[in-house]
Amino acid sequence: MIYAYAITAGAPPADVLDGAPGLADAPLAARTVEDVGAVYSRIERGPSPTREDILRHEQVIETLMRGRPLLPARFGTVLRDEAALDHLLTINHKGLAAGLDRIRGCVELGVRVMWDAAGTEVDEADHEPSPGATTGTAYLIVRAAQERRRRSTEARAGELAANLNRLLRPCAKDGVVRVLPSPQVVMAAAYLVPQDRTGEFRNRVTEAGAAFETLKLLCSGPWPPYHFVPELEVPRG
């Protein structure tokens, strides 16, 4: 079987492929269909979600992305053989070529925003059942208070995320924002940022931190554009 790392604009030069060992140190190879290439290696067994394999996957992709547009494959992308890879490239050629054009000259920057959970709490009195309430009624009263808190938290997170996105999005070509992916995280976003605007983006993150004092912001990257890969048509069978 073969393990796919990335879709590239054309095939990377041989010295680049030689300089980045793949999973289990397997050598990298490339195939192209017209102007769209794919980098892969032959593997004996499927990848494991271990630190070693995940880091190797990322290292290969980051080596390949230096100097050329690239669409990273999700960790664990395995195909039967080279013919299956060629078929995948052929039936998805138009979408992949457009996807490569879209991310050309850009990197992905991740933004994760956390808030102080204490700031989302409501009065404890909301949780107290009314005097004389019977058991079932008391249960629903507590649930109603929790539901009000949930709606209030969602509304606050939505508003904060919208304000932050308004500040950051103008520096980016595209963005994917998730609001409240977990109770501690207000927003987790990925932005496709032109390389010549990454400094400006960094400044915006710092400005956002100053403007929203109760929030903590972490901007990570540059990453391969994992969140901006087009959906592929996958052959059945």
Binding site: P49, E58, P69, V107, G136, Q195, R202, L217, L218
Partner: protein, 123 residues
């Protein structure tokens, strides 16, 4: 023409900008490592637990949706006091029964909150 090279950061240095304590973000990343090994092992015990996890997740999702509907009706004043009491007792017993089932299959609340990727958490 080749694209300009991305900012030349060492592979380990991926902190591009930060406002706040890094440790808090790192604690949140612990959950990622808990998700990664979540694969189905095809031995009898794991398959049974996996199926129980899936079924209990669906039941809990329905329970929460029905509870929210009941709360909305209670707040909207369309339920009598008797109906509020009866519904509350039903949901309370259902929650108790769910806790027993989770315990018997060695499942935590977090196990019933499936990550749907870009769609977010189920519950």
């Amino acid at each position: 023409m080749a694209d300009p090279t991305p900012p030349d950061l060492p592979p380990a240095d991926k902190i591009f900008a930060r406002v706040g304590d890094l440790d808090e973000f790192l604690r949140g990343l612990d959950r990622v490592t808990q998700v990664l090994p979540a694969r189905v092992n095809a031995d009898e015990k794991n398959v049974e637990k996996g199926l129980a996890q899936l079924v209990l997740t669906l039941i809990d999702l329905l329970r929460q949706l029905m509870e929210r509907q009941a709360v909305r009706r209670m707040e909207g004043g369309t339920l009598t006091e008797e109906e509020v009491e009866r519904l509350g007792r039903t949901f309370m017993l259902l929650e108790k029964r769910m806790a027993e089932l989770k315990k018997s299959f060695d499942l935590e609340d977090a196990d019933l909150n499936i990550d749907l990727g870009p769609l977010g958490k189920l519950l």
